[in-house]
Symmetry: C2
Subunit: 202 residues, 2 copies
Amino acid sequence: MPVENITEKAVTSDALDILFRQARTHISWLDKPVPDDVLRQIYDLMKWGPTSANCSPARILFLRTREAKERLRPALSPNNVEKTMQAPVTAILAYDLKFYEHLPRLFPNNPAARGWFSDSPQLAEATAFRNGSLQGGYFILAARGLGLDCGPMSGFDNAKVDQEFFPPTVKSNFLCNLGYGDPAKLFPRNPRLEFDEACQLL
Amino acid sequence: MPVENITEKAVTSDALDILFRQARTHISWLDKPVPDDVLRQIYDLMKWGPTSANCSPARILFLRTREAKERLRPALSPNNVEKTMQAPVTAILAYDLKFYEHLPRLFPNNPAARGWFSDSPQLAEATAFRNGSLQGGYFILAARGLGLDCGPMSGFDNAKVDQEFFPPTVKSNFLCNLGYGDPAKLFPRNPRLEFDEACQLL
């Protein structure tokens, strides 16, 4: 690629509005379903985001049915029940503590990689949590890129969700409602930290 | 917004290529600087990404000078030294364990929010790590959206970085080289898990 063309890789300002500047966390949902194919497209985008040694620890359950939502209901904080039950889809973002079993295939570059994690549960857990959360960021932006709105939430009982939905080696991380949000129901946007409060140039 | 227009929010397929499908983790950098203004633009996009109770725990140091890079060098894994020293900028992504001090301003919706975290160091740490990592995902995709290439890394001594760069209440998370990557130096891309290996529709 010629050097003079390298800035052609930037996306448009409209795309940055959709992904970041104009996107909002939604709490009320239009009566418009989310096709399963769109859920598959979210994964087929987010899976390409980088993780340490390509470890890819994120695991996702997409709850689309009334039955699945009812299994989640007892674990929800009271103020998260109504919006979650109303959302077309609620995703449970989780991470696999045994992600390293896939490393011989995902990271053939170094056959020792599996042992870095299988020999240290503490390193495996930190790696799964960090990279599973990174993948959560990719998930949210992939969903927005496909035209969906997101409503991510930490207000739930992780232990209850883990017991109801996962084997002991998979841990829930956060929830994310998905659908087409009702912009009339948004709260005013909260402020963010200024650059100089969060960043330094050294 | 009329319902028939809601899918106008999707970004183009070209943008999804730039952010996800064609983007690669780079290890060699063209001799093209990254202006400070672009670093500010990364933050001014990523800051809008959602975090729990708008807690915004990510803190970022942008190392642009030889002096700053030399402070980092002793903490790097041997195989990360050369590419990091060559990169125009290396960002240290960190998180502030005392993020809750900003909640009265960032999350005026509930004045009790500060106490949820100030009363529980364990919850504060998990929240900072989860949401600081989510913000790391926003950071990488914001940088790509602006036309940069990224080289994120976990291969370094966190304790050494913390001691050199941060007060005791701020913890390093991961590093990310930034610049314009040399596509000729890329390795072949590694595979990802299939949808049915990482996801379930319920």
